[in-house]
């Protein structure tokens, strides 16, 4: 009996003790995996008391959107596509202004195969071998972008059967980085990741781009740190970090 009481008390204690939540929880599209830590570091440099109070959770924009809709405790939502924050505002999951912080483009990447820059990227893909990894077009904006681009190619009918779909932009990068897929049509920003340096990439300069945007969610409306971070992202310094990390700035297109 004493053992049972002990077990129950321990259980109760354990169930309580986990609650040590960070104050600002950011949900970020997975193409931001490489740039987000730099942004957070810079923000903490500017606001030393924010140190250790920010947490970033990554996922595909669609999945994060669904989780926020279902009450996930995220305070700022950085999507890879402005349609998601706009939809969140439209149905009351967020109340702030949607801010477009950068534009993302695509790049071809392969670990072993090189790209002949004298021919069209479509011909590059046709000449390549093996599986082509892209993110899932249903819920990952970069997957949709990559699919649109592929479908616009003359070579599309021959490429279609070679596609494999990853959960998110970052997982598509992982598929090619690990070698399980030979080539990938990836978020350009991810191909600048340190881990992706030992490979061959070709930027699709004239390819489609996606407008990336963020919004403060309903859960983050009362959080001062969320507003500060939001303001920081609108600053010139943040824009510089995005550009340095392989994003296009919003002005480029206008």
């Amino acid at each position: 009996m004493r053992h049972l009481a002990f077990a129950l008390i321990t259980t109760f204690y354990l169930a309580l003790s986990h609650a040590d939540a960070a104050e600002l929880r950011i949900a970020a599209a997975s193409d931001l995996r490489w740039v987000m830590p730099t942004l957070v570091d810079e923000f903490v440099d500017q606001n030393p008391d924010a140190s250790g109070r920010i947490q970033v959770v990554y996922g595909s924009s669609g999945r994060l959107f669904g989780q926020i809709q279902n009450g996930a405790p995220f305070h700022i939502f950085f999507a890879a596509d402005e349609s998601f924050p706009r939809a969140l505002v439209a149905e009351g999951g967020a109340c702030g202004t949607v801010f477009a912080y950068a534009q993302g483009g695509l790049a071809l990447w392969s670990r072993r195969q090189t790209w002949d820059e004298t021919v069209e990227p479509g011909a590059n893909l046709l000449n390549s071998r093996g599986r082509i990894a892209i993110a899932n077009p249903q819920h990952a904006p970069y997957g949709r972008l990559a699919l649109e681009w592929l479908q616009s190619l003359r070579e599309w009918p021959d490429l279609e059967k070679r596609l494999v779909y990853a959960e998110s932009a970052a997982q598509a990068a992982h598929f090619v980085r690990s070698g399980s897929a030979e080539v990938g049509v990836l978020a350009k920003a991810l191909t600048q990741h340190q881990e992706m340096q030992r490979g061959h990439s070709r930027e699709l300069t004239n390819g489609p781009r996606v407008q990336q945007a963020m919004v403060i969610t309903r859960a983050g409306a009362e959080i001062a740190l969320a507003k500060d971070f939001y303001t920081f992202i609108t600053s010139d310094k943040a824009r510089e970090i995005f550009t340095h990390a392989g994003f296009y700035s919003i002005e480029d297109s206008e």
């Binding site: 321990t10 959770v57 989780q67 279902n70 009450g71 405790p73 998110s168 990741h193």
Partner: protein, 228 residues
Amino acid sequence: MSANDLQAVWLTLQLAAVSTVILLILSLPLAWWLSQTSSRWRPFVEATVALPLVLPPTVLGFYLLVALGPEGFIGGSLEALGLQHLAFSFTGLVIGSVIYSLPFAVQPLQNAFSNVPRELLEAAACMRARFTDRFIHLVLPLAKRGFITAAVLSFAHTIGEFGVVLMIGGNIPGETQVVSIAIYDHVEGLNYSAANQLSLWLLAFSLLVLLVVYSLNRGQAVMKLRGA
């Protein structure tokens, strides 16, 4: 190991410990009833308990997310009472793990209870031992191995859980990011060395657990009648 990984390990151990205790408490009456009853409902209950063995974790996770979230009937009722809904929370994970690991607690216990010789119980009853006496002094000691197996398997199975936690957890460090999710996150972040380190720990741990279970069960035949 990074602070974040240690946090994930600690969270996983908490989740497994809490789920195991709850599972043992729930399974005890259920397994006893299943081992003794000749009710025609028995196959139905047994099948329900065994469902998580065959059901994809995504199905269970999906239903749980729908039920526990702010729109669902459980989460919604809680919200109506002014409480928090349970999706993306530690409590939600515990509920998911308990359902998901239920067969791993019930089945070893049920087997152990069925192996308690009926004659012993009847003899004890003839000596006017009440049900609680019989249960505490005969059934529990004889079913000890069943308890250990149930506890070890539930604990280990919760640690190895991935699909359900991914669906209802939301990958929040310190709250719902367990080791298996942390590994997934490291792989997606191309952080292979960290993924490798955590995976090796998990591999070693799982092997150890199975070794314990199998060495315990080796002597099972001895456990028949040993003067009560």
